[in-house]
Symmetry: C2
Subunit: 156 residues, 2 copies
């Protein structure tokens, strides 16, 4: 899986802790975790295209959340970075070669069905968790994190 997913999720939480009233630049978000800023910028652009973040250019510019954390699911972020395609794609090899059934198969490949059910379970689990759930869990495990973020990323 694309490494940018992890970066994007952390950045969304950091943006929430900073607060929606101020935008944070990609450079600051990257420095916070020692990430390459230009590449993180690329990932954040994907979140903007997906409607998860908003961005403004120029001084005082940067990124901010487009909507509250409880209206962003983990799957929204994964789809924004990884794309909407399933990991397993059926190439329909059963229809190729001498083993092909005569005529056109009217039902889905049983193998594709089995893999599809698993991917559906994966997506359901991701869609069931909002970033706010993740934030609550993160604050429970590291109560000082929000303060650190506000202190280091805030404009103060």
């Amino acid at each position: 899986m694309n490494e940018g997913v992890e970066w994007a999720l952390h950045s969304c939480l950091n943006l929430a802790w900073v607060g929606e009233e101020q935008a944070v630049t990609a450079a600051r978000l990257a420095a916070y975790h020692e990430l390459p800023s230009a590449y993180l910028n690329k990932q954040l652009q994907a979140l903007v295209r997906a409607g998860i973040l908003t961005s403004v250019c120029g001084p005082k510019g940067g990124f901010r959340l487009a909507r509250p954390l409880d209206r962003i699911t983990v799957m929204d972020v994964v789809v924004a970075i990884e794309g909407p395609d399933d990991a397993f794609r059926c190439t329909e090899i059963r229809g190729k070669g001498p083993g092909a059934a005569p005529g056109k198969p009217d039902a889905e490949c049983a193998i594709a069905g089995a893999m599809g059910r698993a991917e559906l379970a994966w997506r359901r689990e991701l869609a069931a968790q909002t970033l706010d759930d993740v934030r609550i869990q993160a604050e429970r495990q590291a109560p000082t994190a929000p303060d650190r973020v506000r202190r280091l990323l805030g404009t103060g």
Copy 2:
């Protein structure tokens, strides 16, 4: 996801339909679906290393199932081809840079936890389905498949 997973699953079903009393070469299995035989051979080797298939060299050699289909789960095949690592790997960026919490984090990263739950759901679903379940479904959708396999891959 690796394309070899699809090939491996189809090949396992084909081996089951041929029957365990005779081995089938990689070349025959590949020709059945017009796949590159040398590369399919590589995937089948992975299944052998995982203990799903057994192989013998030489004339009358080839591959056969190491155990009945109902004792092989879809996840066994996926792990054999893709490897045991999770798709999402937490690089612990929260512990890097100025945003790092003082001391060592005693709890798992909340983000890694969220992704891990989804991957667990995926693996559970894959592990809950045996290749025999897939075979039954495949035969229901294409009743003539077993005969075609036996006719084209059998030594008769």
